[in-house]
């Protein structure tokens, strides 16, 4: 679904991403992990074509650089780390923004667009809030809302930059469960930066560890989440354990 071939991104003279090559299958969830500044956000932004890249990025076998912005937006939905949430915008208006790639330049939403959004709000349990202003929503509700807006694009690829960073523990798991069930229901391909290594290991099919702009390790969670790799790239002491359920648990250790 997504193929990256030697993807390189420069910010002025600094190299943010260097020769990342990978194939991501349709319906797969790949988690991007790595220390701050490793290039996770840059890679997501390159796929969404929000930064210029060298090398080739293909989505659904089409080079993203050859697509019009509108066609790209029908293939790829992107949720940034801290989405702008205008406090006086209503929930309904916000979700409808997601239909923009399906609406002509000076056009307006049709009844069909409003129906798609109404159903999305219902499936994310936000339908009772359609007329509420964003300022009145809780963190968890906003997280679901942002997902609803991205899903309204009806794009097969979902790019999520730290989708849980603003949430408490319970809401984090809830949000990731939601992404997981949505991708299964709708057959979405998910590429997401994930901060929490334990959760990354539990939810993603595969992990890609980025370090200094390079993909240093890619594979199943138990292949990537090893003490040796993590110590080397995060510069922290960690212990990787198995929980009773067989899940990997990454525990940071104090440096004493």
């Amino acid at each position: 679904m997504i193929s990256l071939d030697g993807v390189t991104v420069h910010y002025q003279s600094a190299l943010a991403l260097s020769g990342v090559t990978e194939k991501i299958d349709s319906g797969e969830w790949v988690g991007l992990i790595g220390p701050n500044g490793a290039g996770k956000t840059t890679l997501l932004r390159a796929v969404a074509r929000l930064v210029r890249h060298e090398g080739e990025i293909r989505v659904d076998d089409v080079a993203v650089s050859s697509l019009t912005p509108k066609r790209l937006a029908r293939l790829v939905a992107y949720v940034s780390q801290q989405p702008e949430l205008p406090p006086d915008m209503t929930v309904g208006q916000y979700v409808l923004l997601g239909r923009t790639p399906h609406i002509g330049y000076l056009g307006f939403e049709t009844a069909q667009d409003r129906r798609v959004c109404g159903e999305l709000l219902e499936s994310l349990e936000l339908e009772a809030m359609a007329d509420r202003r964003l300022a009145t929503l809780s963190g968890g509700e906003l997280q679901r809302l942002v997902l609803a807006r991205a899903l309204a694009q009806q794009a097969p690829v979902l790019l999520l930059d730290e989708p849980t960073s603003a949430l408490d523990l319970g809401r984090r798991v809830e949000a990731l469960e939601l992404v997981d069930s949505l991708r299964r229901e709708r057959g979405l391909t998910v590429l997401s930066a994930l901060h929490d290594l334990t959760l990354a290991g539990q939810f993603a099919d595969r992990l890609m560890l980025l370090g200094n702009g390079r993909a240093v390790s890619t594979g199943k969670p138990d292949e990537v989440l090893t003490e040796e790799t993590l110590v080397q790239h995060f510069g922290a002491r960690v212990k990787v354990m198995r929980s009773d359920d067989g899940d990997l648990v990454v525990v940071p250790q104090r440096t004493r």
Binding site: G92, L96, L97, Y105, G118, A130, Q153
Partner: protein
């Protein structure tokens, strides 16, 4: 305001899959109610505007005079010649011009606020005021024989100033960053104002004329000013209103708008160009009337709905009504002398705006 969707029946889990069942569709954003209220205010302002003044004339007389000017209609107004002239040559063009200028300043302000995502943005942000001020000052100090060129010079100065700002601001900063455009506007405005002040100081005898223009006035309004600016304002208004949905998309920021398939920098330059042309035309005939571009759109936002589908058209209608009313105050309060209309808009507008802001905050916290 209801906070739930009108969705008959419960059990949505099953009903959702029935083809005939009620489907939860979002209601469309409607601006009808606020537009009707604003049109009512505009009508009231027009009635007051044509009937108030030193000569005692009624609105029905004004209507009859207007009817007598309709083409192909041979209608005798029954109003005396002098009264008819006062209405047709003095009051009516002034009301129409005030309406056009007010609509443009308020609509332009709303558009600038949307494009730069800055609540304090107004139509003068990128140098319209400073450029027009310099153009007008240059003509005034050049001597009385040049007066006819004043609107043209003000318009040219305004458009040139914004063009310089936009070119410099968008090449200096990070691609797509609006902050550098705004900062370039501050710098360009400061430079042009410095030149304008210098010119003004060198020609102290023209100080009053320059100052009078800067404070804004509709004193010279005739039909020829209306005809002069109408095309610019009409085009500008059509372009801005056509972009009202895209202005809503821009509210979520550059990245999000781009990821939604909108070429945000192209949309932005289109809107800025339209708002600038219209504002420059308005300023060219009315001088620098401040504050309308900020208080009117914000009052609309705070009292109705923040969507540009509502804010843009309602600000335009409300701005027209507001400036007509302000002009009535400007010419009647100290009659027969006039107060500069810019003084009235600030004097009346600022406290009113603070009142709206305060009552809205109180309403929000309860």
């Amino acid at each position: 305001m209801s906070t739930t969707l009108p969705r008959p029946g419960v059990a949505p889990a099953t009903a959702r899959h029935e083809v005939q069942g009620p489907r939860p569709a979002l209601r469309p954003v409607s601006a009808r109610g606020p537009i009707i209220v604003a049109l009512g205010a505009l009508l009231g302002a027009v009635v007051l505007g044509v009937s108030m003044g030193p000569a005692d004339l009624s609105f029905s007389a004004a209507l009859r005079v207007m009817a007598s000017h309709l083409p192909f209609v041979h209608f005798h107004s029954g109003v005396s010649r002098i009264d008819a002239d006062i209405l047709w040559q003095i009051r009516l063009p002034r009301v129409v011009l005030g309406g056009l200028v007010g609509a443009m300043l308020a609509g332009g302000g709303a558009a600038y606020q949307g494009v730069f995502r800055n609540p304090l943005a107004d139509p003068y942000l990128l140098g319209v005021a400073a450029g027009a001020g310099l153009g007008a000052t240059a003509v005034i100090v050049a001597g009385p024989h040049m007066t006819e060129l004043l609107p043209l010079a003000a318009f040219a100065g305004a458009v040139a100033a914004v063009s310089v700002t936009y070119v410099v601001g968008s090449t200096v900063g990070r691609q797509g960053a609006t902050v550098s455009i705004v900062l370039a506007g501050v710098a360009v405005a400061a430079l042009l104002t410095a030149i304008q002040t210098f010119l003004q100081q060198q020609h102290a005898q023209d100080l009053q004329a320059v100052y009078g223009w800067i404070l804004g006035s509709l004193t010279v309004a005739t039909w020829s000013e209306v005809v002069l600016i109408l095309p610019y304002i009409a085009v500008s208004a059509v372009v801005l209103v056509a972009h009202r949905r895209l202005l809503d998309v821009l509210r979520v920021g550059e990245d999000e708008a781009n990821s939604l398939g909108v070429r945000s920098s192209r949309v932005r330059i289109t809107i800025v160009a339209a708002a600038t042309l219209g504002t420059a035309a308005a300023v060219a005939v009315s001088g620098l009337i401040g504050f309308v571009g900020i208080i009117v759109p914000h009052t609309v936002r705070l009292t109705t709905n923040a969507s540009y589908r509502v804010v843009l058209p309602v600000s335009m209608i409300g701005g027209a009504a507001f400036l007509i009313l302000a002009d009535i105050a400007a010419r009647t309060v100290l009659s027969p002398s006039e107060i500069p209309i810019g003084v009235v808009t600030a004097f009346v507008g600022a406290p009113f705006f603070l009142f709206v802001l305060r009552s809205r905050r109180v309403g929000r916290s309860t």
